[in-house]
């Protein structure tokens, strides 16, 4: 049977668009689009045409090539930041759920603090100390993802802790770590996947926002946020500069959201069977 039919419309659209973006990003990072990305004052501010499908910007760069190159920064940073946040947050959540006590209290208070801390300020602080660039951006976004995953995992695990299969594992004297990884983790895996997709959509917006204020990846690396910031004052002269990167950003966010949505629907369909 056609495997595609197993996926919902949302998943198909999201998956397809993200795949295209990723391929575009890879093509750009391999240097195939260097001509388009290069500054060439002689071809500046050209409207969309057959030579430049999405027009050119104020420095004569091809907008389509820039969007492809920007996809690499946007998706790369967004996904890496979320994975980094998850890699730290999930074990934290598991451990605090399994152990409880003072550590648990400290971790959740720390999480409160991170949630309450103005995100842009943290990015400015990190940039001032580490210098601007992709690494700093990933770190700044990852920090806000840590408590998200820690909290999610902890909350879910706490409700699992009183279930029979955990009690039986406990009675058979299994270590806390073994319980956490063998019994708790598989049961929250689905939720983690949903959360990763959701967080990735937020991370992409965050990355564009940071680039927009000049903190994200630095030129010559392209970034959708900076393209939008540059385009703003040209909006009536060259509206394509606002329309295309903005739409790319919106569609990427939408794709992640649709995937998260579809996975969570699948997951909630599955849940009753787990309970039975």
């Amino acid at each position: 049977m056609n495997t595609l039919t197993r996926f919902s419309r949302g998943e198909r659209f999201g998956g397809l668009f993200l795949t295209i973006l990723m391929i575009a990003g890879i093509i750009a990072s391999l240097g195939f689009l260097d001509d388009g990305v290069a500054i060439d004052i002689s071809r500046r501010l050209l409207a969309p045409s057959s030579a430049h499908w999405m027009g050119t910007d104020a420095l004569g760069r091809d907008v389509l090539s820039l969007i492809c190159a920007g996809a690499a920064s946007s998706l790369g940073i967004g996904i890496l930041a979320v994975l980094l946040g998850a890699a730290v947050g999930i074990p934290l959540g598991l451990v605090t759920a399994a152990k409880g006590g003072l550590i648990s209290e400290a971790v959740s208070r720390g999480g409160d603090l991170v949630f309450a801390f103005p995100s842009l300020l943290l990015a400015v602080l990190l940039t001032a100390v580490l210098g601007p660039g992709a690494k700093t951006t990933i770190l700044a976004i990852a920090v806000f993802n840590v408590p998200v995953f820690a909290r999610l995992v902890r909350g879910q695990c706490l409700s699992l802790m009183s279930r029979d299969f955990i009690l039986s594992a406990r009675m058979s004297n299994r270590s806390t770590a073994a319980i956490a990884f063998d019994h708790l983790l598989p049961n929250v895996a689905g939720l983690i996947v949903i959360q990763i997709a959701l967080q990735a959509s937020l991370a992409i917006v965050a990355e564009s926002g940071l680039s927009y204020v000049g903190l994200g990846v630095q030129p010559p690396f392209a970034s959708w946020g900076r393209m939008l910031a540059d385009a703003q004052s040209l909006v009536s002269v060259a509206p394509w500069l606002v329309a295309f990167p903005g739409s790319a950003l919106m569609l990427a966010v939408l794709s992640f959201n649709l995937i998260a949505d579809a996975v969570s629907r699948r997951w909630s369909d599955r849940t009753p069977r787990l309970d039975a």
Partner: protein, 851 residues
């Protein structure tokens, strides 16, 4: 009960929303009023203490005047001194003050004021940026009430010019202390009000000694962002932009019959500064390789849209002694590679290009980087803030290349300063400069100045790019603004409208105050009810945990902010500060005390309600925060209510028939809405409502004192931009929650008892689904207060987010700490209120451990 109270409150508030939009009277300005756009906010208003151009833009020749002044053509004219004499040996100057000059506080200008001003500027610990130029003065003596003598140790050819510059304006010893926040001068305008982050207001000085100003009132509005500058202009909110920051928009503005575009020149030599002291740039072959690699015309075309005169040395093209050396190193990447090879770098040199925020630097920087890369350099761009630039580049000389515009007039002396950031030292240059300062003969001076220019170009100290143009943009009916900028400042004494525009009446202030009070009282009453419902023991337990969190947070916040490189003193004093002055200011700010004591001073003050004084604004931090919160809190509230007003009906309609077309359409729309970044939406809204339809202002905030409805109009678009994405989130949460509740037993019971589907939805499901929704709204409120920075800057709103962002850029630790802690407290506080809401509904929570 509770939900109905909330919904009633909501309904009452929602009634205002259409009203706000409906009330759209057009606002014009009175004949004598002018709104001037400024790209940067002045750090303070004391021109003797800062080299910030924004300060000069407001006060030079408007509020303060010097003994002499610079006219638009660059010539030196009498100002407070109506004439002066110079002794034959050039060592004695005698200035005769104009009779009948009064300061704005009514006191008379005397020779003693002149002595005090100049003595203060030249003393060792002076923070005056021109401090160094006064070193040849050995004595200043008032001879009588209106005569003052200045004695020099050796002749100084341009003393009369120096005295005309903005940093040496005459102040009075009695009032100089307040000049940072409320300056008192002798000029045609007097200071009225400074709304931090938004505007400075001046009004006509009726007792001016000269021809009175034609305008009654001038408002300088701070618009840091190029897009907002354009939209503000097009929307008619700004009358004039003497230094318009977006050359790319000039063509568009020129086509608009409402505006004049006037392109003049500044004293800004824009250059790629090279760290001459650092290898490999200490090798002149490498510096020449840089120069040959640069194509000035491409940069002027690409970054400046063709505006700007190419220059090849450090003097402005409109100076009589100017020598065009821009062809000294013609664009030749091959030659550049060859020079690098000769210098021993066959595989190129890697360089870091640090770029400060101004548009010309960032834009030129990208092109410079691509040109250097083509000539064999490996370039890394680092965009940094001003505070970092001052600290890393200017103070610690930690850079390879940077791009900056040196806007002080005739500042060729910087190349002989011993510890200047270029790291350039030449005995021959110093000697030539010394000869120049003693030379009065114009022809000889010209030759000497040309020698200086030639030497700088030959040594290839920097790569000079272009003279920064001055883009003046203003309404057609406005006359009298300067085309040229021979000196920093926006001189307004001759500015006038040549037609009359009527003014619109503002609403009453009383209504605003009353409404504010009502909201506050309602909030307090609500809190009280909540506390009672939740039970005292529970509330106390939560409060205790809240205080502990805040103490922990304060330590983290303090430490984090302490790590920031750069300091406020350096930022304030700018590029020409002496080390003594810097130290003096650091002591004044308490930056020399041990850390634990700084922490203790801050935190003990914080809990007593004393947040200290802002370094940059020199006003109490608490005052700043309250001023900003008076915008941010209502804006957040308005957005939240707007979001709720959109989300609740949408979610109810969707849940009414699950899986129906309506449900699917709403789901799709909210999914898309959720994916639109709010700043993009903000921009689209501005283009549509402010620039296109011109029914709402594009940005700025006049303050609540200007009337409730008048002020609220300025919040409609920002609130909408913030609300739409939040509404989508809210609607999805509520829809999901309604779906869950509708499955529950009590709904089935209600149905069984014969309740219709609409009644079940509204009376049974909705109240139950509302409480989890409130949790999300609580989080959203906290986000809306602190997380709206980008939207705030698009609309030039002086909100708390932008206060924090600016304070960070200016390293104003006092403001940063307290604002961050306050924001943290808001989030924790809102969470507490949400928890109390839960607890007051659900007795199980009260009894169990809340975590």
């Amino acid at each position: 009960m509770r939900t109905s109270l909330i919904s009633r409150l909501g309904a009452r508030w929602l009634r205002w929303a259409p009203l706000l939009v409906a009330l759209l009277p057009t606002i014009g300005f009175a004949a004598g009023r002018l709104v001037v756009g400024l790209s940067l906010e002045p750090p303070n208003l004391d021109p003797s203490a800062t080299s910030a151009e924004a300060t000069q833009d407001v006060v030079y020749s408007n509020v303060f005047e010097g003994l002499t002044r610079i006219a638009e053509d660059g010539s030196v004219q009498p100002a407070l001194a109506d004439h002066w004499t110079i002794s034959d040996n050039g060592l004695h100057y005698r200035f005769f003050l104009r009779p009948g000059v009064h300061f704005h506080d009514g006191s008379v200008l005397t020779a003693e004021d002149v002595r005090w001003t100049l003595d203060r500027a030249r003393q060792a610990e002076s923070v005056n940026p021109l401090h160094g130029l006064l070193s040849k003065i050995v004595g200043i003596r008032p001879m009588d009430e209106r005569t003052v003598d200045i004695e020099l140790s050796c002749p100084v050819a341009d003393l009369v010019t120096t005295l005309a510059w903005g940093n040496l304006v005459i102040m009075s010893a009695r009032t100089a202390g307040q000049a940072k926040t409320a300056p008192i001068g002798t000029g045609p305008f007097r200071f009225t009000q400074w709304r931090k982050g938004d505007s400075v207001v001046l009004e006509r000085n009726p007792n001016y000694w000269g021809p009175p100003a034609r305008l009654d009132q001038v408002t300088y509005r701070v618009i840091p962002d190029a897009t907002s500058a354009l939209t503000g202009l097009l929307a008619g909110d700004i009358d004039a932009f003497p230094n318009f920051p977006a050359p790319e928009s000039l063509q568009q503005i020129e086509k608009d019959p409402r505006f004049s575009v006037v392109i003049g020149s500044t004293e800004g030599e824009t250059l790629i500064a090279i760290n001459n002291a650092r290898a490999p740039f200490n090798d002149s072959r490498v510096r020449r390789a840089l120069a040959y690699a640069i194509d000035r015309n491409a940069i002027i075309q690409g970054a400046m849209y063709g505006y700007g005169t190419p220059i090849g040395s450090h003097l402005s093209p409109h100076d009589a002694a100017y020598l065009d050396l821009s062809g000294r190193y013609p664009y030749d990447p091959e030659r550049s590679r060859q020079l690098l090879k000769d210098a021993g770098y066959p595989s190129g040199v890697s360089v870091t290009l640090r770029l400060p925020p101004p548009y010309y630097a960032r834009r030129s920087g990208e092109i410079v980087a691509s040109q250097l890369a083509a000539a064999g350099f490996q370039v890394r761009i680092e965009n940094i803030e001003w505070a970092q630039w001052l600290d890393q580049v200017f103070k610690r000389h930690d850079f390879d290349l940077t791009i900056v515009s040196h806007t002080e007039p005739k500042d060729y002396d910087i190349y002989s300063r011993p510890d200047y950031y270029f790291g350039y030292h030449s005995a021959q240059y110093d000697q030539r400069l010394d000869v120049l300062s003693r030379t009065f003969d114009p022809q000889r001076r010209k030759e000497l100045l040309q020698d200086l220019q030639r030497q700088l170009a030959d040594d290839c100290v920097n790569v000079w790019l272009f003279e920064l143009p001055k883009f003046g943009v203003w309404k057609k009916h406005l006359t009298g603004l300067w085309t040229e900028a021979p000196v920093q400042g926006v001189v307004l004494s001759a500015v006038t409208w040549d037609n009359e525009v009527s003014t619109a009446a503002h609403g009453s202030v009383k209504a605003t105050r009353a409404l504010g009070t009502v909201i506050l009282v309602a909030f307090m009453a609500g809190l009280f009810v909540l506390f009672r419902k939740a039970g005292l023991a529970y509330v106390l337990r939560r409060l205790q945990s809240l205080v502990l969190t805040l103490i922990g947070a304060s330590i983290v916040v303090f430490t984090l902010i302490q790590i920031l490189p750069g300091d406020a003193a350096a930022y304030m004093l700018g590029v020409n500060a002496s080390p003594e002055a810097l130290h003096q200011l650091q002591v004044e700010f308490g930056l020399d005390a041990p850390l634990w004591r700084q922490y203790w001073t801050w935190i003990s003050g914080f809990f007593m309600g004393d947040l200290g004084t802002s370094y940059t604004y020199q006003v109490p931090v608490a005052e700043l925060i309250v001023e900003r919160l008076s915008l941010s809190a209502p804006l957040a509230l308005l957005s939240l209510l707007l979001a709720a007003a959109l989300a609740i009906p949408a979610a109810l309609a969707a849940a009414y028939r699950p899986k129906s077309i309506t449900d699917q359409v709403i789901s799709a729309l909210t999914q898309i809405g959720l994916s639109i970044p709010n700043y993009w939406l903000a921009l689209l809204l501005v283009m549509l409502f402010a620039v296109g339809l011109q029914v709402l202002p594009s940005g700025g905030f006049p303050g609540w004192d200007s009337g409730l409805f008048h002020a609220a109009r300025y919040l409609v678009l920002p609130a909408l931009a913030l609300a739409l994405p939040q509404a989508c989130v809210l609607s999805r949460v509520l829809r999901a929650e309604l779906g869950r509740v509708l499955q529950e037993d009590f709904i089935r019971t209600a149905r069984a008892k014969g309740a219709g589907p609409l009644r079940v939805l509204l009376k049974h499901a909705f109240p139950n689904a509302l409480i989890p929704t409130l949790t999300i709204m609580g989080l959203q409120f906290a986000f809306l207060i602190s997380g709206a920075v980008i939207v705030e800057s698009i609309f030039s709103l002086p909100g708390i987010g932008r206060l924090l962002f600016q304070a960070t850029a200016q390293r104003d630790l006092m403001v940063m700490r307290s604002v961050v802690l306050l924001l943290v407290a808001t989030v924790v506080g809102v969470n507490l209120i949400v928890e109390l809401l839960w607890a007051s509904v659900d007795p199980r929570i009260r009894k169990s451990d809340p975590t």
